[in-house]
């Protein structure tokens, strides 16, 4: 269980980031998930990304719903506040938290049951509103905590561990996120840390609704032949359109890439993403093109991964609401309360 204490000591020579934090400062409690769970790799990637970005750990708010994936915020960023909320309701809780304090970094962690079934509506509406967040779905196609029922992202025709064939159509959260106007959309694989870490880092740097669907095989209930979310299946069908590096800081960094294969995207926070093209025709600034590309490849049984869409000029909910720069939770009576003189005038107008 999560009460297992983790030893705090570490090697004195452990590398430090720009703020002087080591990896250990971004870790949390010991995971209680099954050994080999894909979710633990995602946890490790989140730790790595936050370390690389030199984020102050306590400036992140980690919010999740219910399920295996939603337990993971306890296993990273132990100095951050976390909120393991209600099943399928992470997006609304995160939206409220974000409205209260626009200065923190919001990391929403959810699963396929949490986001594609019970919380499908909340997933959709938080994306629509452009909440400034990094929304990660740890997608294993199965309900792990309740022992192996299909989730809504399980592909039609895929088989459960007990041998049952899924007859329902799958929901592709990436396709939905694109359709609903997410301004940063990516898919990755828990088994491909080199792809996932920079994607998470770039998503955190993005100002707007960032969505990452991470295929994360369930070692206990969905890693068998006939599953389309097993390690083997995903490795065989992974079709990466690009790889990226996140370049922190404003100074250009010389990167040794073949000419014409790299595209640099500047983000709001000043960081740059260097995008190495794998599929020469893929344009991550073309929302409609991305939708078509995904649909075409899905029909062929391929799992498209990489940074699928990014709008560097994105706006977020606070801009839509025109809220003050000061976090709302820092405003006090002197600025919030109109006072008795105004109330007297209001009274007079009501006579």
């Amino acid at each position: 269980m999560t009460y297992i204490a983790k030893p705090k000591f570490h090697h004195p020579g452990l590398k430090k980031n720009a703020l002087g934090y080591t990896h250990r400062d971004y870790e949390g409690k010991i995971s209680t998930l099954c050994a080999g769970c894909g979710h633990d790799s995602i946890t490790a990637s989140i730790i790595e990304a936050c370390y690389e970005l030199s984020i102050e750990p306590h400036r992140v708010a980690k919010i999740s719903g219910i399920g295996c994936s939603s337990k993971t915020p306890d296993y990273f960023l132990g100095n951050s506040h976390g909120f393991n909320s209600v099943h399928g309701r992470m997006p609304s809780v995160l939206t409220g938290a974000n409205l209260a304090n626009r200065d923190l970094i919001y990391l929403g962690v959810s699963g396929d049951g949490d986001s594609a079934s019970i919380g499908f509506g909340q997933f959709a509406h938080s994306i629509r509103r452009g909440v400034n967040m990094t929304y990660i779905v740890e997608n294993n196609g199965v309900y792990g905590l309740t022992k192996g029922q299909f989730s809504a992202t399980a592909d039609r025709g895929s088989k459960s561990k007990k041998g049952v064939t899924n007859t329902d159509n799958a929901i592709d959260l990436v396709a939905i996120a694109l359709q609903l106007g997410a301004t940063f959309v990516a898919r990755s694989f828990s088994g491909d840390k080199s792809q996932l870490v920079p994607l998470i880092a770039a998503a955190i740097g993005h100002k707007g609704a960032s969505f990452i669907d991470v295929i994360s095989p369930c070692i206990a209930f969905n890693n068998h032949a006939g599953s389309t979310k097993s390690f083997d299946y995903v490795r065989e069908h992974n079709d990466a359109v690009n790889r990226l590096d996140v370049l922190v800081g404003r100074d250009p960094i010389a990167v040794d890439y073949a000419p014409g294969t790299v595209q640099v995207v500047e983000q709001h926070d000043g960081s740059k993403i260097a995008l190495r093209k794998i599929d020469a025709d893929y344009d991550p600034h073309d929302r409609l093109g991305a939708q078509t590309f995904l649909a075409r490849h899905a029909a062929k049984g391929q799992i498209v991964t990489g940074l699928l869409y990014v709008d560097p000029e994105a706006e977020d909910l606070h801009e839509h609401l025109n809220t003050v720069e000061t976090p709302l939770n820092a405003l006090e009576a002197d600025t919030l309360c109109p006072g008795s003189a105004v109330l007297d005038k209001i009274n007079a107008s009501l006579r």
Partner: protein, 615 residues
């Protein structure tokens, strides 16, 4: 024509307007109510409207009451029958000796009238059509024309009405003059063709004083502005939508930075009530003052989050503008029917704080107080309004605010306190009041973070399924609820002139009808002490009141006497001593109803030995 003497009354009668929804009658009818207020005579108007935008019947009732009885009275002294669909019912509803005002443009068969009432026909359509050609103008000004005719019949001062129109259309000269013109069209026709005034008359008085005229929902929204709410998330539902709409309007006026024009608030229309309360919980967890407004069906949807708020101890303010349930029930009719649903909302052992304002002034005060209570107690606070208070204009004392007042942000551990080395246990009861300290996310780089969850945990927020740890936490939550007793608004007691063994408990919108009923009961020789409950958990004075009286009537607007159940349950009282007086047809409770129900029971008690009466 009449075998019954026409009713004669000055400043004490009920006029009811029967209209078709969407015909623009609402503003003219409201103007009628305001015009009487301008005479210094209190009124109590009520909108009786359908769940519909256009076409269905709607009524507007104005109780003219120099004595200041603001509850519904029951009965109609004058019917302004403008809706053919409801004609028969409307005519039948007039008190014997009452008056029927109608559009006489088309002749009506005599069978459509009654011979015990005074029938007043004004050819409204004919007057309107001969003056206006535009169909929309015809519809709107017809309403003002009948207002003009009524002003003559009821002996109202036209100058006061003109002033009112002048105030209402300030800066819109064209509308102003055309409304005044229409007013005089009706007034002049009545003066020339009818015997004016009739038996019902409005006479100038000075009984309004400095009171204001406001809807409860608007007052509650203003309370949220004054109380420092910065996040509002809501989903449209009658009769609560106007809370969020009013909050929006108030914020636009009072909450923009004068220099940058930026908003010091965030309002989100959620995709449903689940999202609305989720946003409130998320914002409150992160240290903002947040609220939602809803009604019964929304409460049902929110219950899972309400349980989380209780167990994970996150502040939230929910304004419940109650309507008749269950299910969709009667969406546009009033009740006090969510008492149990809110007091014990959500699965598991839960209890929640409820506030019961009696009118818009208290809705304002309690709304502002709800945010202090929510942060002090770190839990959900329900502001229990209902349609009768929420959606009707009500005369009430002016709203007050003390500029020295600071918000009570509750027990929040700051970075400085953590630096001092204070022991932070998120669920640690350091003061013995059951209330732990919390930290806002982002407070300190290495201290004070914790993992919020709806699962059980120990005093330091560490996950635990140990029975003793769980029970320890549940007992602390009980202790916290006991602390709440002394923080919430106390009951108000008013004793009868003579000592009595009988008492009555009531709350919320029943208040004005109850006050009036006391007078009626005294006239029948019944003395009753009164206790108006203003919050749950019940203060100890409720138990004392019960102990001091043999029988206590509990007056409420629901079928199952829910407040009575709550009192019995929470105080371990013998239910026989609590007599339910319930009114639940969706109309507001009246003094006549209360006086009859209690009076009959009292009469019964006096002739029957106690043992027989209760066996």
């Amino acid at each position: 024509m009449s075998d019954k003497k026409p009713i004669s009354s000055v400043n004490d009668f009920v006029v009811r307007f029967a209209n078709v929804n969407g015909s623009g009658s609402a503003s003219a009818n409201e103007m009628f109510a305001r015009a009487i207020l301008r005479h210094g005579v209190p009124v109590s108007p009520r909108n009786i409207f359908p769940s519909n935008i256009q076409g269905l019947p709607t009524w507007y009732e104005v109780r003219v009451t120099e004595a200041g009885h603001l509850g519904a009275r029951g009965g109609v002294d004058m019917m302004v029958a403008m809706n053919p669909q409801t004609w028969d019912k409307d005519v039948a509803g007039i008190e014997p000796g009452g008056y029927l005002f109608y559009d006489s443009t088309k002749p009506m068969p005599s069978t459509k009238f009654r011979d015990d009432i005074t029938v007043i026909g004004v050819p409204l359509t004919a007057i309107t059509n001969s003056t206006y050609t535009d169909p929309r103008q015809r519809q709107l000004f017809k309403n003002i024309i009948y207002l003009g005719a009524l002003s003559a019949l009821l002996d109202m001062d036209p100058k006061l009405i003109e002033q009112l129109i002048g105030d209402q259309y300030k800066g819109k000269e064209k509308l102003l003059s055309s409304n005044v013109h229409a007013l005089h069209l009706g007034r002049d026709w009545a003066l020339q063709n009818l015997k004016c005034p009739i038996g019902l008359r409005v006479k100038k008085s000075d009984k309004v004083g400095d009171r204001i005229f406001i809807e409860g929902n608007s007052a509650a929204a203003l309370g949220a502005v004054y109380g420092g709410a910065t996040v509002c998330a809501w989903y449209p539902i009658t009769p609560s939508s106007s809370v969020a709409e009013a909050f929006t309007a108030h914020c636009k006026k009072y909450r923009h930075d004068p220099e940058t024009g930026k908003a010091k608030y965030a309002i989100v229309q959620g995709e449903d009530e689940l999202a609305s309360i989720g946003i409130v919980i998320g914002a409150s967890w992160n240290g903002a003052r947040a609220f939602t407004a809803t009604s019964g069906p929304g409460i049902s949807l929110m219950t899972e989050f309400i349980g989380l708020s209780y167990f994970a101890e996150i502040p939230a303010v929910i304004m419940n503008i109650q309507r008749a349930g269950p299910s969709t029930g009667m969406p546009t009719r009033t009740q006090q029917c969510d008492i149990i649903a809110c007091a014990y909302a959500s699965h598991g052992d839960t209890k929640h704080v409820l506030l019961f304002p009696e009118d818009p002034a208290e809705a304002f005060e309690f709304a502002a107080a709800a945010f202090d209570l929510a942060e002090r107690l770190q839990t959900t606070i329900f502001l229990m309004l209902d349609l009768d208070i929420g959606m009707n204009h009500r005369l009430c004392r002016p709203l007050k605010w003390d500029d020295a007042r600071q918000y009570d942000r509750g027990k929040v551990m700051t970075a400085a306190m953590l630096e001092e080395g204070r022991d932070f246990g998120r669920y640690l009861d350091v003061d013995g009041d059951g209330i732990p300290y919390r930290t806002y996310p982002g407070t300190h780089p290495t201290k004070g973070s914790y993992f919020t969850r709806g699962t059980s945990r120990d005093r330091y927020a560490r996950y635990s399924e140990e029975g003793t740890v769980y029970a320890d936490n549940m007992q602390r939550l009980m202790r916290k609820f006991e602390t709440a007793q002394d923080l919430v608004p106390r009951p108000l007691q008013a004793n009868a002139e003579r000592p009595t063994k009988y008492g009555v408990i009531y709350f919320g919108s029943t208040s004005p009808a109850m006050d009036e009923a006391i007078g009626l009961l005294e006239a029948r020789g019944h003395q009753l002490d009164r206790l108006r409950i203003r919050a749950f958990p019940f203060h100890s004075s409720v138990a004392s009141f019960l102990a001091e009286h043999d029988f206590v009537y509990v007056v409420e607007q629901n079928r199952d006497s829910q407040l009575r159940q709550l009192i019995v349950n929470e105080n371990g009282i013998d239910p026989v001593r609590l007599v339910p007086i319930v009114h639940y047809d969706g109309t507001p409770i009246t003094a006549r109803f209360i006086a009859k129900a209690i009076g009959d029971h009292q009469d019964h008690l006096k002739v029957t030995p106690l043992r027989k009466a209760v066996s």
